[in-house]
Symmetry: C2
Subunit: 150 residues, 2 copies
């Protein structure tokens, strides 16, 4: 498998608890290409439960979307640059401008979850990404992110 998007960030931007390779305590979420879309897979430890023990807490779901969304924005931006000028500039870090999450149903804990990302728009330094979180192929949450290139 090719290198994860997050592992291509510059070292000084790799301290994120959700996905940074330099944050030893963190989740280390890894995002990859999946055709023209992006994908991340993650199994959440039982301690990250919501109000009831069998479901993921909302903040953890937002975390997955946040880290997968900014990584996807970075990858989409880089791909467009490659297509336009025939060269990569490496993965430039994006930060979150806004993140809107819809919780469709409880997300089960302890099984592998999948987060899909698709490109919605690019305007200057701003990239919009749409995401869906699945458990056993069932949609549990969706998100819309506006990410901004640093």
């Amino acid at each position: 498998m090719s290198e994860a998007f997050q592992d291509k960030y510059a070292d000084e931007y790799s301290h994120c608890y959700g996905c940074g390779k330099n944050n030893l305590a963190g989740h280390k979420l890894k995002s990859y290409w999946n055709g023209v879309d992006t994908i991340a897979k993650f199994t959440i430890e039982r301690k990250y439960s919501g109000g009831v023990p069998d479901h993921v807490y909302g903040g953890m779901i937002a975390s997955l979307f946040d880290c997968h969304g900014t990584a996807s924005a970075s990858a989409f931006s880089n791909r467009l640059r490659k297509e336009a000028v025939g060269e990569s500039q490496g993965l430039i870090r994006f930060v979150t401008g806004s993140l809107a999450v819809r919780f469709l149903r409880p997300t089960p804990i302890g099984i592998e979850l999948t987060v899909n990302g698709s490109l919605k728009s690019v305007v200057g330094r701003k990239v919009e990404v749409s995401m869906t979180l699945y458990a056993n192929s069932i949609e549990c949450a969706t998100a819309e992110m506006l990410a901004i290139k640093i």
Copy 2:
């Protein structure tokens, strides 16, 4: 100081990593009345950093809003019931239907943050809450939540 909203949840709904009294590994966020609004104060450990070490990661900010928002919805709903029928039914747990976060500027890590919550609307089992996160009295992020009574 009076008991936190989250500590009044029924035991079976108190396992949340963000705010549950029965989750020993979690953040145990506590929310209280602040006049007609609600307030939570929290100092984030340095490991929960974003891409750079001095700022909070986005998922953690969403977590604070998620737990303070549902607790506030529960408290607002209970207050309205008290005003209407003169009695409390205790704090009924709410879950998040949607949470939209706007990140206005980087949130510094290692200092006490304040989250304010205000009631926007109540329609049946649905409560809308507006929130703002402050560091040193400066707005760092805002959020709009739709919470739903279980």
